[in-house]
């Protein structure tokens, strides 16, 4: 069967590498952008190729410093969500007693319909400007869906004949969980993780955009977009440069996730 022949993997890696590299290495490449050094919203060229923002800070320097929070909060949030949600999901799926399963998963079900926006806005208002609080809030809203996803996938695997066979073979619970169940869970998780990171990046970005997140002078990409949006026509780079970073990251991530998925499907077929 023919497959999507986009130059997916290399392009995905390249797209992902730039924003990730900027986020990771950026802070070492440039001094933090100092306010008031240049004129506000000066157009690009010469000393500051991407111009300046409303506080007269070099957009390039901001860009180099703004990735850590923009991506870090989202990635951290998804990591926490998977650590907690994944553990709960696996535990619930492997619970020997039905009530144990219910006890683990029902409270999360309760959280599921909680409007994400509400949680984020309450947390962001309450702990203004704290990246950890916002990341935790984003993680918290992601825990229930992750737990459910992992539980469903694990339950599928855990109640199947393969698991039964492993149990009859005397495999330990831990090994069944880690080896078989976790591995069967892996492919839905791989599929989910790309979207989830994208959503988390957007969620963190949206909070910042709405002024509910970090403080308004932070170099964060989403904050930069929000702060400079009024000058979109005056000094487009102040908005477009951080926006491009975010878009590149998510496009690259999705390309890569698609590719991994296609590959895992192929290896499953080609026995």
């Amino acid at each position: 069967m023919k497959r999507v022949n986009l130059p997916t993997a290399p392009a995905g890696v390249a797209l992902l590498a730039l924003p990730l590299g900027v986020a990771l290495l950026g802070p070492w490449c440039a001094e933090p952008a100092r306010p008031g050094v240049f004129a506000p919203y000066a157009p690009g060229g010469g000393e500051h190729p991407l111009g300046t923002d409303g506080l007269g800070r070099d957009v390039l320097a901001l860009l180099l410093h703004g990735g850590r929070s923009a991506l870090g909060m989202a990635l951290g949030a998804v990591a926490v969500a998977y650590l907690v949600g994944g553990a709960v999901g696996l535990l619930a799926a492997s619970a020997r007693r039905r009530w144990a399963d219910e006890l683990l998963i029902r409270p999360l079900d309760v959280l599921l319909p909680l409007p994400t926006l509400l949680v984020i806005s309450v947390v962001a208002v309450g702990w203004r400007g704290s990246p950890v609080a916002i990341a935790l809030a984003v993680a918290a809203v992601n825990v229930p869906p992750v737990a459910r996803l992992v539980r469903a996938a694990a339950l599928d695997a855990a109640s199947g004949p393969v698991t039964e066979a492993l149990r009859v073979q005397g495999e330990s619970r831990v090994r069944i969980q880690l080896d078989h169940v976790a591995r069967s869970v892996l492919s839905p998780v791989a599929a989910d993780i790309g979207t989830r990171i994208t959503l988390a990046v957007f969620l963190v970005g949206s909070a910042n955009f709405l002024g509910l997140g970090l403080d308004p002078t932070a170099p964060d990409w989403a904050v930069s977009i929000s702060r400079s949006r009024e000058a979109l026509l005056l000094q487009p780079w102040a908005v477009l440069a951080p926006a491009a970073m975010l878009v590149m990251f998510t496009v690259g991530l999705n390309l890569l996730a698609d590719r991994l998925l296609a590959r895992s499907r192929r290896t499953q077929e080609a026995v």
Binding site: V4, V125, I225, T250
Partner: protein, 315 residues
């Protein structure tokens, strides 16, 4: 089936009840209360205290909550601490527009996404699939707030084709000027179409490879029937499950759109209420939004349950 639906409904009720407790706890964690927020620099501490007493904020939290909860059971969502009017009025004032926005968005999203997903999933790797996959992938990667900014700057401010805001727009204007809807709906719909069509496509690709589809094809079932009766019901499940999550996406997208286009909807009201520490309003709105999201996911579950009955067998 009916038993399943009733069970889900009952669960939904419990969820809502616990949710209100949670929302109450969350909002009471916020620094300051409505009395603090409502007064600006010029209020004296005595005035703040008087206001606090007048709003009943000096009563114990538990008492306030039980009062409110008792009211909800009789259909009374309480009184706004800000306007002094019923929360229901706040809701009525904002829900209409949001509902309209959501409905139009869904009406655009669902058929389009399903069609795109089917078309691209049918010929995996074909030219159409590649085109659709690339476009949805790219569009999906643009945060809604960026998309909204760029569209407004380009289409409204530069080209002047579409209105840039909803400032001063009433319900009647919407009917007279449907152009108002284009940008907000476009922004919310863009990413939802991407998410949904990708799910539908993935479902199609998986199901098209399943043994039973192969067998049906072997038995000579023609393309159309194969697609409609054998492939779609199974392939739709991930899409429908995605749709169940759309509730949340929709709220998030609508909030951004409401902020950018100055649309006075539920999301805006919710954020306003949080900022004003108007706890009864926050609770009322959260309750309604959550109930809507719950109903949505319940409907999606019932439909996928109907389509693939096996799902119930899993515990």
């Amino acid at each position: 089936m009916r038993g399943y639906a009733l069970q889900r409904l009952a669960l939904g009720g419990v969820q809502l009840a616990l949710l209100t407790v949670l929302v109450f706890l969350l909002t009471s964690l916020l620094p300051g209360d409505a009395a603090d927020v409502r007064n600006d620099e010029d209020a004296t501490p005595e005035q703040v205290a008087a206001l606090r007493e007048q709003l009943g904020l000096d009563r114990p939290a538990l008492e306030r909550f039980t009062d409110w909860a008792g009211g909800v059971l009789t259909g009374d969502l309480g009184t706004s601490l800000v306007s002094g009017g019923p929360v229901l009025d706040v809701l009525a004032g904002s829900a209409g527009i949001t509902l309209l926005l959501a409905a139009v968005t869904l009406a655009v999203v669902v058929p389009l996404a399903v069609l795109l997903g089917i078309a691209s999933g049918l010929r995996e790797g074909g030219r159409l699939d590649r085109a659709v996959t690339s476009v949805t992938l790219a569009l999906n990667a643009v945060p809604d707030f960026v998309l909204a900014l760029l569209l407004v700057a380009g289409l409204s401010l530069r080209l002047g084709w579409l209105p840039a805001t909803w400032v001063g727009v009433g319900a009647a204007d919407l009917i007279a000027r449907p152009a108002l809807l284009v940008l907000p709906v476009g922004v919310v719909a863009a990413r939802m179409i991407c998410l949904l069509s990708r799910q539908v496509r993935a479902g199609m690709v998986t199901v098209l490879r399943a043994g039973y589809v192969t067998q049906a094809r072997r038995l000579g079932v023609p393309r159309r029937t194969l697609l409609l009766r054998h492939v779609l019901p199974n392939a739709a499940v991930p899409g429908i499950q995605e749709l169940a999550r759309v509730g949340d996406n929709l709220v998030g997208g609508v909030l951004i759109v409401e902020a950018v286009f100055a649309i006075p909807g539920v999301a805006t009201a919710l954020v306003d209420a949080v900022e004003a520490r108007d706890v009864p309003t926050v609770q009322g709105l959260a309750l309604v939004v959550a109930a809507a999201a719950l109903l949505f996911s319940l409907a999606a579950d019932l439909v996928s349950h109907r389509l693939v009955p096996r799902t119930e067998v899993l515990r």
